[in-house]
């Protein structure tokens, strides 16, 4: 396929994806959301199982925590709704599965090639994500190298908190540096102090 045709297809798929995201956040019917999730898994083909595993790993713990908190807060007041819980979790799962599939199948840089601004945003976000992924991996390995026995909850909490704080601070610092470097190269000339 010619590169221009490929880019056109990917752009169309991206528009469809954005429309699907709006639709999935507007639907309040568990059956429709379940069907949407099923459709995404069908589209994933032989990678459906791997996709579902990635969905569970990436949002499973978060959803479990939110669901448990909801149940603990609502049940004593008699306002617990299992239907609502299923609806919310199905929506998160469908949106996550769809996003992971799109990111896997579409080359964002090519699909957004029509806009230099969007292209810069995607490139910067990707470079930041890759850098931060390396940092997270370093934190994980550093802890592993110092772990002699199974860690207790207190140590796990301390490590997670310290890593998250360091990660946030690094991300902020890097964003500042990138913005300065972009300014130095004339990106924000319009609003530069005169």
């Amino acid at each position: 396929m010619r590169p221009e045709s490929r880019a056109g297809l990917e752009r169309a798929a991206l528009v469809l994806y954005l429309a699907a995201v709006v639709a999935l956040t507007s639907v309040h019917d568990s059956q429709v959301l379940a069907a949407a999730l099923g459709l995404v898994l069908i589209l994933a083909g032989r990678q459906a199982l791997a996709l579902m595993r990635r969905v569970l790993v990436s949002v499973g713990p978060f959803c479990a925590l939110v669901s448990a908190s909801y149940a603990v807060m609502m049940a004593p007041a008699g306002r617990f709704s299992a239907d609502y819980l299923i609806l919310v979790n199905l929506r998160v799962a469908a949106l996550t599965a769809l996003t992971l599939l799109v990111v896997q199948r579409i080359k964002l840089a090519r699909a957004l090639g029509f806009s230099r601004g969007l292209l810069f945003v995607v490139t910067l976000a990707t470079s930041q994500a890759l850098t931060l992924r390396r940092v997270v991996e370093d934190y994980r390995l550093a802890l592993k190298s110092r772990t002699l026995v199974r860690l207790g909850l207190r140590d796990r909490y301390r490590h997670s908190a310290a890593s998250a704080a360091r990660l946030l601070s690094k991300a902020l610092h890097q964003s500042g540096e990138i913005a300065l470097a972009m300014r130095a190269r004339g990106f924000f000339d319009d609003d530069a102090p005169r």
Binding site: Y139, L141, A142, L143, S145, R146, T147, L148, A161, R166
Partner: protein, 258 residues
């Protein structure tokens, strides 16, 4: 003590970072792991510390294979993690406890040692950290953080100390201190660096990783430093123009500005 045979490693969905690396390191040796950026030095250190499982080849420590299964074994895993320690390039990566005291006590506490206070006090003294024991380690300077991390590793009295570019973030005074400290340290030492000017101060034997990720030299460091073609091949030397008054010339350098 350490035996690597035919180690190869590929990043998942990424490039090859180590190719057919074989070598042995005996107890008490001080080894410099040299190589240009991206040659695989950090990955090799991570293999040696059992954090990265090579795609192919075998790693043996004291005759036992080091593998995820072996490290899951409570006895071997604990022994290995206590005896083989790694100082990461960025000390921030390793620090997560609320005080310097807790950071140093982290390892001994896991082992249930009874003399934690004595050990922490001793190593804090060695590294000049006594006055900082109650301070959060992340509030210290880069050099002090490096010392906290070293104290946290050495408090376990390891047999093998692996250091990843230990002088990369240090000021000149801290570099001098570290060189002196490592000189007197009675452990097996593997130091990854590309700083050739410091190399002779840190060890006697060199392992050189080439840009093709193969081990291209294993031998006497002094002989390597005289072998300019090999240093050029490993991208360990640089050339630039000099001006001496009216005279201008260029030649290869083995020094570093770190």
């Amino acid at each position: 003590m350490i035996r690597l045979s035919g180690i190869r490693h590929d990043f998942p969905d990424g490039p090859r970072v180590l190719e057919d690396v074989s070598c042995a390191i005996e107890p008490g040796e001080k080894v410099l792991l040299l190589g240009a950026n991206g040659s695989g030095k950090s990955t090799l250190l991570r293999v040696l510390s059992g954090l990265v499982t090579p795609s192919a080849g075998e790693y043996r420590y004291r005759g036992s294979p080091v593998s995820p299964a072996a490290l899951r074994d409570r006895g071997f895993g604990r022994l290995f993690r206590r005896e083989v320690v790694l100082l990461f390039q960025h000390p921030d990566t390793m620090i997560f406890n609320p005080s310097v005291y807790e950071e140093i006590a982290f390892g001994p506490r896991q082992l249930g040692l009874t003399d934690i206070d004595r050990r922490v006090t001793r190593w804090a003294e060695v590294f000049g950290l006594t006055e900082h024991l109650e301070r959060p380690p992340f509030a210290l300077s880069g050099g002090e953080k490096q010392k906290v991390c070293l104290a946290a590793l050495l408090v376990l009295e390891p047999e093998v100390l692996l250091l990843d570019e230990p002088t990369a973030h240090l000021d000149p005074r801290s570099v001098g201190w570290l060189v002196d400290f490592l000189f007197d340290l009675k452990v097996t030492l593997v130091v990854a660096t590309q700083n050739l000017s410091l190399a002779p101060e840190l060890g006697e034997r060199a392992l050189v990783l080439g840009e093709d990720h193969r081990l291209i030299y294993d031998g006497d460091l002094a002989a390597l430093l005289r072998d300019q073609p090999r240093l050029i091949a490993a991208n360990l030397v640089h050339t630039h123009r000099h001006r001496h008054g009216a005279l201008e010339h260029r030649h290869f350098h083995t020094h570093d500005w770190d």
